[in-house]
Amino acid sequence: MDDLFAPPDDAWQRVSPALARMRHVLVVLVAVLALVVLVVLALVLALPLGVWLSLVVVVGALAVLAWVQAGRNARRWGYAERDEDLYIRHGVMFRTLVVVPYGRMQYVDVHAGPLEQLFRIASVHLHTASPGTSARIPGLPASEAARLRDRLTSLGEAQAAGL
């Protein structure tokens, strides 16, 4: 079933489990925020208890769904560094497999937002001359991100193919 998105060689290199943790934290934060809003709404609008409770249930259900989905999605990220190209796979519902030849890379970005820094992870973004290339690997441990960036950059220079 999954052979369509199977790794090119033996196995995918996985991203850090911290990515799933970070996304779970995000889900919880948003859910808590939604609950606070609901409480405020209930106090201000004097909602009937039934309506209020069903809203809470809906928010809770959504949060659980998001929790599960965020975890599955985070675990699904995989990449494979090969001699001449990089494979990236991601997505659970909408699946994508990208192949970027090193010779096509224009530059490599490493990005770590505040929350990512808290979890000591970063994302690496490969840019080609095409804006359509969606080659991003989130949730790499900071050291691995730096290593990958350096490796990609040097490989990209060695194999640069011009436009």
Partner: protein, 454 residues
């Protein structure tokens, strides 16, 4: 403070007038009556005249301070009245030079030289305005100088002598051979039969009946739609009028325009892919349109009614368009996109795209990846293997149920977008792997010589 020891040249002294033409006309028009009338032109008139005078002084000073000359394989441009700038444009970095004549400039026989510089992506250098003859001479001089410099560099690099992409560039004059022209009749007919006309007739009928039913304004409602449509088509007409494609040692040279004249060189080494469009109503005539994607020339196709610079031929018989396409794909060995075998998605794709399935084709062949889609306007997207940036396999949940997937070929920004949609999933994955290998070999083959073997 380094004064040029070389003889420099100046822009046309009419430059400030052309730049401020609108202002000049406006001021003169608004104050002329008063001047003739009683000499009393009022405070506003004085203000405008002062502005005009100030503008004229500034314009003159700017003209005086703007100098350009060619020195040690660089085009140097000094500008600036208050703070001075000195720009250097390396000749070997020039990708192309376009000559454009905005309407006012054309009235005075002037032209603007736009230099396209590698790496920048945007137009970095522009010289406005020069007498047309001078602009053409400068353009030819810069281009031949560039080719000479590049030839020397290639010789120094000395790997293999064949800079195969462009057939040995002779430095001296620029011989020009016209290979395609567009006659006005074809252009007008093609505009009347374009998809926009289709849309217009529908809109007119829809709003016409709507208003006829609701009120008695049937005719009136159509007017704004008609005006919008007419304006868009007139804009195209004036932009594409006199379209001429000619062959030069530097690539294809495209000239066009009725009021505003534009000229543009398409350097073959920058071609990333082509699109052949065939609107429904043109197919009876066997007509097609050709667009090209160029590196660093991020302009999209003619979509929102704006004529686009990516167009290589607005309308022509299909064989001619294919011929031009093959010329543009010279780097891939001038393959014929029509020879690439295109196959439709499997039958079960009807559950995902019941109607569109019949209009989706894709295939990879000698030197090219090709996909075709579109019901009303059939578009054939073509990318040489050597120009593939990256590849993507995509699958949504609904596609997964039927074992289908999309394969997308990423290209630099432009009109070209090859996508093999709703293919059998295994086939798509195999295609991804194969295309990746073929593209790698094609890239590798490009450096020593022309990648003739696909």
């Amino acid at each position: 403070m380094s004064e040029p020891e070389r003889p420099f040249r100046r822009l046309s002294p009419l430059t400030p007038l052309v730049r401020g033409f609108i202002l000049v006309v406006a001021v003169l028009a608004s104050t002329w009556d008063d001047v003739l009338g009683g000499g009393n032109i009022g405070p506003l008139g004085w203000l405008l005249l002062t502005m005009l005078l100030g503008g004229a002084v500034y314009g003159f000073a700017s003209w005086l301070r703007t100098k350009y000359w060619i020195e040690s394989d660089e085009l140097r441009v000094d500008t600036g009245v208050v703070s001075r700038q000195s720009r250097r444009i390396r000749v070997d970095r020039l990708q192309g030079i376009d000559i454009s004549q905005p309407f006012v400039a054309r009235l005075f026989g002037l032209a603007e030289l736009k230099m396209d510089v590698a790496g920048g992506g945007s137009r970095e250098g522009s010289l406005a305005f020069l007498p047309l003859r001078e602009a053409e001479e400068l353009r030819a001089a810069l281009l031949s100088r560039r080719d000479a410099v590049r030839a020397v560099e290639a010789a120094v690099e000395a790997a293999e002598p064949g800079d195969g992409a462009s057939p040995a560039a002779p430095p001296a004059p620029v011989p020009e051979r016209i290979i395609a022209t567009l006659d006005p009749r074809t252009l007008i007919v093609s505009l009347l039969l374009s998809p926009e006309s289709f849309a217009f007739v529908f809109a007119a009928l829809f709003f016409g009946t709507l208003f006829a039913v609701v009120g008695n304004l049937g005719g009136v409602a159509v007017v704004p739609v008609l005006i919008g449509f007419a304006l868009a088509q007139l804009r195209r007409l004036s932009a594409y009028y006199g379209f001429t494609v000619s062959e030069t040692p530097n690539g294809l040279y495209v000239r066009r325009g009725l009021f505003e004249k534009d000229a543009q060189t398409i350097t073959l080494a920058r071609v990333q892919g082509v699109v052949v469009s065939e609107p429904l109503l043109w197919r009876g005539f066997g007509w097609a349109k050709l667009d090209v994607a160029l590196a660093g020339y991020a302009r999209s196709a003619d979509s929102d009614g704006r004529p686009s610079a990516s167009t290589v031929m607005p309308v022509a018989p299909r064989p001619l368009v294919i011929g031009l396409a093959r010329r543009l794909l010279a780097e891939a060995g001038s393959p014929d996109p029509d020879v690439v075998a295109l196959t439709p998605p499997p039958l079960r794709a009807r559950w995902v795209a019941p109607v569109r399935r019949h209009f989706l084709f894709s295939g990879a062949g000698d030197g090219l990846v090709v996909s075709r889609e579109g019901m009303v306007t059939r578009r054939t997207h073509v990318v040489p293997h050597a120009r593939v940036q990256s590849l993507q396999l995509r699958q949504g949940p609904w596609q997964r149920r039927f074992g289908l997937a999309d394969l997308q070929v990423d290209s630099p920004p432009g009109p070209v977008r090859v996508r093999a949609r709703h293919r059998d999933a295994r086939e798509a994955r195999a295609l991804l792997q194969r295309e990746n290998d073929v593209a790698r070999r094609a890239r590798a083959a490009r450096s020593p010589g022309p990648g003739l073997t696909g």
